[in-house]
């Protein structure tokens, strides 16, 4: 009897968890006139008009392309910079290691709003305003530290004897690192890539501030539609549903590492 009660409570929680997402999906499959005129728990006659509009109107679909570009750029950059740094933190003691590790963490914790004004000035000065590269660079602020922390967690699980053996066998450091060490922690690299991808994908403030038109990501497009008159709820809901898709597609692969990633590699 006790187990049943527990299962029922858990089921109710999961229904509540899904309900708001279901409601947006419901809205996205109806026309705006239908949404405003009738209150319906499920779409009576399903229409894909909202999705077709997003896939054919460049002001909408370019938002997805831009976001994908800077998110991928950021993921590659974060990994490239974080891998050697994480190796140093997991293997070596050096002058100021504790302080540097803490400094990286403070950047993951820093409020993006604080950096808003200087970023406008900095990126206009170096002529990067309204480019995907600017957003990718700005997102390094929190993604490089995150990647270092997660990777350090994975690397510390690899015994140091492997490194020592490889060096005795005459491997140079770069060759050892690329051909032996990275394959050993490939699960960790995959998980880190997922988290860099995700945190860059969900961020709004930098992405909105550093772009005007050419590199505007979908999240910024959506906030600008909210303030416009004659809001099209169906279209907004469809855009929202499409932003969930990339994350939802890859959760399955990292499901066992989610706790580790969200906890900065400390679980």
């Amino acid at each position: 009897m006790k187990i049943q009660k527990k299962t029922i409570a858990l089921s109710i929680y999961f229904i509540l968890l899904i309900l708001p997402i279901y409601w947006m999906l419901n809205m996205s499959l109806r026309t705006n006139a239908d949404i405003l005129a009738n209150f319906a728990l499920y779409p009576a006659d399903i229409t894909f008009k909202n999705y077709i509009k997003i896939f054919t109107d460049p002001t909408w679909y370019s938002g997805y392309i831009n976001a994908m570009i800077y998110v991928c750029m950021n993921t590659v950059m974060s990994l490239a910079f974080a891998l050697p740094a994480a190796y140093a933190f997991s293997r070596y003691k050096f002058l100021g290691d504790g302080q540097m590790f803490f400094w990286f963490l403070t950047n993951r914790m820093a409020p993006p709003a604080v950096f808003l004004l200087p970023y406008l000035q900095l990126y206009s000065t170096i002529n990067l305003m309204d480019t995907c590269l600017a957003v990718a660079l700005a997102h390094c602020l929190f993604n490089v530290p995150l990647a270092i922390w997660i990777l350090e967690g994975f690397m510390s699980g690899i015994p140091k004897e492997i490194d020592e053996t490889a060096f005795i066998d005459g491997y140079s450091f770069p060759r050892f690192f690329v051909t032996i060490f990275i394959p050993l922690i490939r699960a960790g690299v995959g998980v880190t890539a997922f988290f860099c991808f995700m945190f860059s994908w969900v961020e709004l403030l930098f992405a909105r501030t550093l772009t005007i038109t050419d590199a505007k990501p979908i999240t910024a497009t959506m906030t600008r539609t909210i303030s416009a008159t004659g809001l099209d709820w169906g279209l907004l809901a469809a855009a929202g549903v499409l932003t969930i898709v990339p994350g939802a597609l890859v959760i399955w692969f990292v499901r066992n590492y989610l706790a580790k990633g969200f906890a900065l590699g400390r679980v």
Binding site: K6, M24, F81, R91, F102, A110, V144, N256
Partner: protein, 293 residues
């Protein structure tokens, strides 16, 4: 694991240091620069010393936003931590249910933050939202539910959104903690005839201490920086009732364009966050140590 002592390791962290410093140190220096000057236009600035800091420290809007922030972050912890632990305890321990639960739990965590706001607008609006229409059709409230009309409703909606968004994180962490407890502990408890409560307080809770510390600190820090969700949902209103620190700072900086005061505010905000980060760091180091020994 004993580490090698070698200062040449600095070469390995140098690239990461440069890229983060470019995004962190240069902008921070610009903020310091703004905070001690009155800027009229390009090349026209007057040194004003600590005036902006005195201004902001005595600013009642900043005080209000700060207390609101503490209240919000406090409530978030009070609701999310116990709820997350309960969910983790109720989750299945083996079988297909585990993966299904983990994937469903993670879903809100990968949605862009302002889309979270959009979801909740659509969900709670009194004309089209399931929750808004549902609660108003019950006729229980003296004032019809509308999160843009009454501060209390705005707060309830925001808290519901925040709990919906981030409780899964706490649950995931707590579940990871629970899974690390060896089966032998439970068997020993059973032989001793320990009750469910005793098992929870003497075995599960102490073993979850590490992950729960991380959960508390992460939720505290991240709710302290919250921007996109309330921005999308309430825009800081009605009035200023949901204007948290980040929202107030962005308003000050981009709408009124008060560079000096905004910069001074930024530095004060940053110092508060730095203080919490330090506590966080110490706690994280202890968590790591606890697991290794």
């Amino acid at each position: 694991m004993e580490k090698w002592q070698d200062n040449k390791a600095w070469f390995l962290i140098l690239p990461a240091t440069i890229i983060v410093a470019f995004s962190a140190i240069i902008p921070l220096m610009t903020v310091v620069n703004y905070s001690i000057q009155d800027i009229f236009g390009p090349g026209e600035a007057v040194y004003v010393g600590m005036e902006w800091f005195r201004d902001m420290l005595g600013n009642y809007r900043l005080h209000d936003a700060l207390w609101r922030q503490f209240l919000f972050s406090g409530l978030v912890l009070l609701i999310e931590i116990p709820l997350g632990v309960l969910i983790a305890l109720a989750m299945p321990k083996r079988g297909w249910g585990v993966s299904a639960c983990l994937v469903t739990l993670a879903l809100p965590l990968v949605i862009p933050w302002n889309v979270i706001g959009t979801i909740w607008i659509i969900f709670t609006r009194p004309d089209i939202g399931l929750f808004g229409v549902g609660i108003n059709s019950l006729n229980l409230l003296s004032v019809p539910f509308d999160h843009t009309a009454k501060p209390l409703y705005a707060w309830i909606t925001l808290l519901a959104m925040e709990v919906w968004h981030w409780t899964p994180l706490v649950a995931l962490l707590a579940y990871a903690g629970l899974r690390s407890i060896p089966e032998a502990y439970y068997q020993a408890a059973k032989i001793d005839g320990a009750s469910k409560w005793a098992t929870f307080f003497y075995i599960q809770l102490p073993k979850m201490r590490g992950v729960l510390t991380i959960a508390v600190l992460l939720r505290w820090m991240d709710s302290f920086l919250i921007y996109a969700e309330p921005f999308a949902l309430t825009g800081g209103g009605p009035g200023n009732s949901t204007t948290f620190l980040s929202i107030y700072l962005v308003k000050l900086a981009t709408m009124q364009f008060d560079l000096g005061p905004a910069a001074a505010f930024s530095l004060i905000y940053f110092l508060i966050v730095l203080l919490f980060s330090f506590i966080f760091y110490q706690a994280l180091l202890n968590v790591g140590r606890g697991e290794k020994t």
